[in-house]
């Protein structure tokens, strides 16, 4: 191959940097999986858990939890929350404040549901992982989020 050809150079550079980056990711201790893993969907909802869990839930499961009085946390920006949210949901912009409120209300083992706009957003998952990092062990991410909840006419708050 003639390395003077621009496209050959592009191929070489992309190929070597990709191989190198995958190698580096493989050997470093804080490497990440090649493909982001989707959350497992919960089979059944447990009110208390032995091992920490972080699972995705469907609308029906979210509704069950909602009717049981589970705390719902809105992970969206406050302006979206103000426009409309699941009735009774919390929107606390600061993690330390949220963990303090949750912990003092119900401890760290009780179920907590986190949601954001809908399937496309990732902030509910991000927040759930952060809460897991803070020691909360019974976390559910309602993937359908605000869009699915409001489209199906479930209770919403101003």
């Amino acid at each position: 191959m003639n390395v003077r050809l621009p496209l050959v150079q592009v191929f070489f550079l992309v190929f070597f940097s990709s191989v190198f980056s995958l190698f580096v990711n493989g050997i470093r201790t804080d490497g990440i999986p090649l493909l982001a893993k989707e959350l497992d969907v919960a089979d059944n909802i447990k009110i208390s858990v032995d091992e920490p869990q972080l699972l995705a839930i469907t609308l029906e499961q979210a509704l069950d939890l909602y009717n049981n009085g589970t705390v719902f946390i809105d992970a969206r920006e406050p302006e979206y929350f103000t426009d409309g949210h699941i009735m009774g949901a919390w929107n606390v912009p600061f993690l330390f404040e949220l963990t303090f409120k949750l912990d003092s209300l119900q401890g760290k083992e009780s179920p907590v549901v986190v949601y954001c706009s809908g399937d496309e957003c990732g902030s509910s998952e991000d927040l759930a992982y952060e809460l897991q990092g803070e020691g909360f062990s019974n976390l559910y991410v309602f993937k359908g989020g605000w869009d699915e909840w409001s489209e199906n006419g479930h209770p919403i708050g101003p």
Binding site: L13, V14, S17, G31, I32, S117
Partner: protein, 151 residues
């Protein structure tokens, strides 16, 4: 019309600036691949799952290209890749702004909030400028101060 000598110096400066920018941009992403994957995810342009592979490979590619531009290695290829990356960045930033997606929807996360705060016209203009520099390097005419391949 600027003469060849001046043009070569201009190209050298463009290489150094672009190379330094790419290397500087790559370091934090290489150090925090997980946070970078989240930022990519918030753009909502890639199907779920692919942001990790981009977060792993893109920063190293930037570092490679940055070094190549500075040292004059495979300049044509480096300039093409840089131009391509800048086009992708411009499109990604523009679509995020046009769609008005809640890009700092990583609500409580400091790093994601900062990345979201950075989005704006300034970033797009910078990328257009860098695109211009990479096209200038691609059309440099005289091949001077290059390590490989030798002319």
């Amino acid at each position: 019309m600027i003469n060849l000598q001046k043009r070569s110096i201009l190209v050298l400066f463009s290489r150094l600036i672009l190379g330094a920018v790419l290397i500087a941009a790559s370091i934090d992403k290489i150090l925090h691949p997980e946070a970078f994957a989240e930022v990519i995810g918030n753009y909502n342009v890639l199907p779920f799952g692919l942001e990790n592979i981009v977060a792993i490979t893109l920063p190293i590619l930037e570092l490679f290209i940055g070094c190549c531009l500075i040292f004059g290695i495979m300049l044509d290829g480096s300039a093409i890749i840089t131009a391509g990356m800048m086009c992708v960045f411009i499109i990604a930033l523009s679509q995020a702004m046009i769609r008005g997606i809640d890009i700092n929807c990583g609500c409580f996360k400091v790093s994601v909030d900062n990345a979201g705060g950075n989005i704006g016209y300034r970033r797009i203009i910078e990328d257009i400028l860098f695109l211009g520099l990479s096209l200038l390097i691609l059309n440099r005419g005289e091949r001077k101060w290059e390590l490989y391949p030798k002319t």
